[in-house]
Symmetry: C2
Subunit: 251 residues, 2 copies
DNA sequence: CGGGGTCTTGAGGTGTTTCAACGTCGGTGG
DNA sequence: CCACCGACGTTGAAACACCTCAAGACCCCG
């Protein structure tokens, strides 16, 4: 049995909102066109008016902001299962671009379809709203992270967040997940130059906190990394503490 | 005739969403308890489960994040007319504290009442959702501002944003609005120490870009400041460019 | 007329950037 | 199969933005 490409999206919604069978079914039968997107390619451009929201089915994507003088900054990272611009349903004019960080599979779900299920199921309207609120909460934490932590703890905090969002934080101590992103781009997410990212990543490796290399992240002792980064997953609004959830393998 | 304390909130909603008379009326007749809050007092504490959302009727409030080692950061600033934690309707557990930056008047609107009007008027449910999305868009811009701009342009950008949100950006060149916030706290919003805020503010004054003093901000040449800060108000999602709107006086 | 909070200024220290060079790796074509 | 190439990663040294610490000035309120 081939699971729906929408299954990861439903899983994500259900970590934050309770949905009955009819509502779950409405999500799983959403229409949409599926496309492959090469790494480093924009699939939503700045200022564009879209008529569909982008569901990340595989790979990693990022939201980019930019200043007039051309400096870029990643303002959000989206993993498989994330509807990267669910907000576009109520604000179709893109205020930032979306780009694939790795080769990615994206499903374009028409706004009309999303509006339709939201109108038919109040619980879904609320679930969509709640998911946008969670994204805002993550953005707030990024503001905190950029402003108060310095390079090493800031970097550690980002990867703790990604581990928690991937759902790889289990009872096993050792954690690992794919991260096929260059140091240059990682710098654009952390507000650091690629040179400093390199030194920072090396320092984290030497300190045995985490190993960011070969397109992967390895965290040998989760509890150690969590404390080093002073990471508290509450802001992710993923329900009960992820430590209690069954371990999910991501390859 | 005494205008409803909810009028500024309705104005804010209508800058982003079209509402008919019945819907406008539903907003204006929302129930709620009104309270004075002293400067520097939390009116929502971290981790608290709330049963009402906080509408800022007068004064300035801020959302605070904090790390374990006690460093604080302002992750959002809220002006009169903002429902500071509208998101709490769908995520009642506060992931950050709300504090009055100046003496403020706050109206506590029960979640039940907000859910009720949202259920009765789909347009209101959408307007609430859209307002949360706009807050998220502002947070994204703050991430950009913290990561890529340095102290002077970063500070200038923040005040350009506040001017645009206050609605004081008119056809007149000179702009002025109240800002009764200490340099210490301004630093917590900008990710700078109060000492550096002081030097930065002085530099902006000497360059005649903006004068932040005496609990006010004065911007002598809006266009000049706008360009210096590379400020583009699109992300505020306040509809047509604010330059075209009639000048509003804020005292 | 104090006094506490806020603003101001100086001097030295630190984290990060900049610039520049070199190393490594995976793919491509001869 | 190896030479080449471009992208990415690594390292060093100097410059810079911002921080820290510290002292003094201002200013409103009691």
């Amino acid at each position: 049995v081939n699971p729906s490409p929408l299954q990861p999206f439903l899983d994500r919604l259900m970590k934050r909102s309770a949905l009955n069978e009819a509502q779950q079914d409405a999500i799983l039968t959403l229409p949409g066109r599926i496309e492959q997107v090469d790494a480093n390619r924009d699939f939503v451009r700045l200022g564009e008016r879209t008529e569909h929201a982008c569901l990340i089915i595989a790979g990693i994507a990022a939201k980019f902001g930019q200043t007039f003088d051309g400096r870029r900054q990643i303002t959000a990272i989206h993993l498989r299962g994330d509807m990267a611009d669910l907000h576009s349903v109520v604000a179709p004019k893109a205020t930032s671009a979306l780009q694939a960080l790795s080769a990615a599979t994206v499903m374009y779900v028409p706004h009309t379809a999303l509006r339709d299920v939201a109108a038919r199921h109040q619980a879904l309207a609320e679930a969509f709203w709640r998911d946008c609120v969670a994204d805002a909460s993550i953005a707030s934490e990024w503001i905190l992270n950029l402003a108060v932590r310095q390079a090493q703890t800031r970097t550690a905090h980002l990867f703790c967040e990604l581990a928690a969002r991937y759902g790889v934080v289990g009872n096993g101590r050792s954690i690992s997940f794919p991260f096929p992103v260059t140091q240059e781009r990682l710098g654009e997410a952390l507000g650091l130059t690629s040179v400093h990212v390199n030194r920072t990543v090396k320092a984290l490796r030497d300190a045995e906190i985490m190993d960011v290399r070969h397109r992967r992240v390895d965290i040998p002792y989760w509890e150690h990394a969590r404390r080093y980064a002073t990471f508290n997953p509450d802001y992710l609004q993923l329900g009960p503490s992820p430590e209690k959830k069954p371990l999910t393998i991501v390859t």
